[in-house]
């Protein structure tokens, strides 16, 4: 893996956004040749989304030929009376709204290219199976961006989830429900207890995985994920077995790591920063050769 350590949340968000931008530009998407991107929700990726929107507005990046696949979605309406939660801020109770307000509405992505699991589906497992088929149909995911929970989970693959799992319905852990209660008027009875999520193996299938981790409250999970063994109680640890993984974090997230680990990867930053150097503008990229294909070292 590459462990990218930046000073603070903003710098980490910017690094991650630049990386995504460069990957898309280098891929050179066009009609019939889509860049497939997996996307997360939550507080951590907000800074990264803001930066990506900035690059789009500057004309440096287009999402016209990008297909996105979100990791998860709540199953809300099977369990709750809609009226009970209809007054809540849409951003927080529904990942469709989150993605629309924080990302999709600001960029030029077409709706038919944005895929999010439908927590309202009549047959939930069929919805999950169909999602897997969609990913297969587009030839797999180039870059899957994810976050990590304080309990080390990726998407809603809570502790104990099989590391071989695929997209399915999951019952949420009590920790997650408690953490989410603040978005539902602090009323535990209103918090969704089920969600649809991509499996660990679904994300492992991606060509490249980038995990964003910021904040001291995630530090222990990061330690468990990269310095201890592969363990289904900390599902992000599965990516130790993926050939192309990036962990992008801020200083606070490294607080539980060994000094040796942090020093080693900080020493690599000079090399790693080459990955986010600006590429030439889209219009001129045909004239420039990009050196990203020459990896300075292998994992």
């Amino acid at each position: 893996m590459k462990l990218i350590i930046l000073d603070d949340y903003d710098k980490a968000s910017e690094w991650a956004a630049k990386y995504i931008r460069n990957r898309i530009l280098h891929f050179n998407p066009g009609p019939g040749r889509f860049f497939t991107l997996g996307l997360p929700t939550g507080g951590t990726p907000l800074g990264c989304y803001k930066k990506l929107i900035e690059y789009f507005k500057k004309g440096e990046l287009s999402f016209k030929y990008v297909k996105t696949f979100n990791m998860d979605e709540y199953c809300v309406f099977h369990e709750l009376v809609k009226a009970e939660i209809s007054h809540l801020d849409m951003n927080t109770k529904d990942y469709h709204s989150f993605m629309w307000n924080n990302f999709f509405k600001h960029i030029d992505i077409r709706a038919e290219n944005a895929h999010i699991l439908d927590g309202n589906a009549v047959d939930l497992q069929a919805e999950c199976d169909a999602f897997e088929e969609k990913i297969k149909a587009v030839g797999g995911i180039e870059l899957f961006v994810g976050g990590i929970g304080p309990d080390g989970h990726i998407a809603f693959n809570e502790p104990g989830s099989s590391l071989a799992s695929r997209t399915r319905v999951k019952t949420l852990a009590l920790d997650t429900i408690l953490a989410n209660a603040r978005f539902f008027d602090g009323d535990l009875s209103k918090v969704p207890t089920m969600a649809l999520t991509v499996g660990v193996a679904t994300v492992m299938d991606a060509k490249e995985v980038m995990i964003l981790i910021t904040g001291a409250h995630k530090a222990f999970a990061l330690y468990k994920a990269i310095e201890e063994g592969v363990n289904h109680m900390w599902t992000v640890s599965a990516f130790q077995q993926h050939p192309q993984t990036l962990f992008v974090c801020d200083e606070d997230a490294t607080l539980e790591l060994r000094v040796k680990t942090v020093k080693y990867f900080k020493g690599m930053m000079q090399v790693h920063n080459k990955l986010v150097e600006p590429l030439s503008p889209m219009q001129e990229k045909q004239r420039i050769t990009v050196e990203m294909s020459e990896k300075p070292y292998s994992d």
Partner: protein
Amino acid sequence: MPSNKSVSDAPITQFINCRILRDHRLQRDDLWVREGKILNPEKLFFDEEGFADLQVDCGDGILAPGFIDVQINGGYGVDFSQAADDISGGMALVAKKILEHGVTSFCPTLVTSPPHIYHKVRATDRVLVSVQVLPQVSVDDGGPGGAGVLGVHLEGPFISREKRGAHPERYLCSLAGGGLKDLLEVYGSLDNVAIVTLAPEIPGSLEVVRQLKERGITVSLGHSVADLSQAEQAVQHGATFITHLFNAMLPFHHRDPGIVGLLTSDQVPENRTIFYGMIADGIHTNPAALRIAHRAHPAGLVLVTDAITAMGLPPGRHTLGQQDIEIEGLHAYVAGTKTLSGSIATMDMCVRHFQQASGCSLEAALEAASLHPAQLLGISHRKGTLNYGTDADFVLLDDELSVRATYIAGHQVWRK
């Protein structure tokens, strides 16, 4: 073009680079319109996989709901209360001109008049409605021809003699105690009436208030010498508005607040808001009085122009009906005197003056001219906001709240 999953083939317009007034705040967000209504872009994206056909750049302006003027007696030489043969032409002229002030809906106001004026106007009104002075389907909606007519505001003749103001004394009426029958005798019909202003101390008025409210007509108290308890009784019977607060009523007194006391009365039924009209032209109400009212009851303030025939006319001398008027700046005097003959401020001027005088937020000033009148008339589910599914009547303003363009049903009907 919307994709094949769309529920409608109608073109979609997206207004970008603007700040919209939504949820009582100015937010940087786009406004989407389809088929004359405000569209929910998130539903469009996920459910219909659609997108905009046309993008309109608003130059970083403010998009606010179109202004609603519930008290306007005429303008540009037109007097709604005069039985002119081209009353429909007159109303259409004013409706068209007030688009320049950001007004997208209004209640043409008739002051105390002899019965034959009402009947004629009523009859003409019915013809008006079906023959379309305003080239839209219903009497409510406006369009490129002018602002929409929400219904008539009948100010008088059931008002107080002492507080009649400029209303002609000989046409004032009392109530014979027959409830709506008395009104119908004078007005001829109550079709297309949105508001009736009356004085609640007139014997028999409480029953009239109750019956008008049952018919869905807004009852307003004004031109009255009622004390607070009489006013409160009228409110309990269904009155919800005060016509031009402070003017044509007893002044506030600390032992008998009169109608003004309704702003802080504890006798108002729960969940009912008392609205009050304010002529915020800096002339009819001292800014300090405006501030007192606003601070006492901000949610009820409704900006009105109470504009008279002389509104919109250039400075100088004009002959209007029987009167000679002299216009100097924002003042309209009876010619040769310093007696005010009425208000000639425009709605956008009132919004600006209200904001400056009260120091309130831009949002509050804009809502006093849009949301509050819509709430008063019980139409806030359709007008007065930029909520999804409401009529796309809105106005583009700059930061000084000057009108740059006016839109009705999503179409630009006036531009600076």
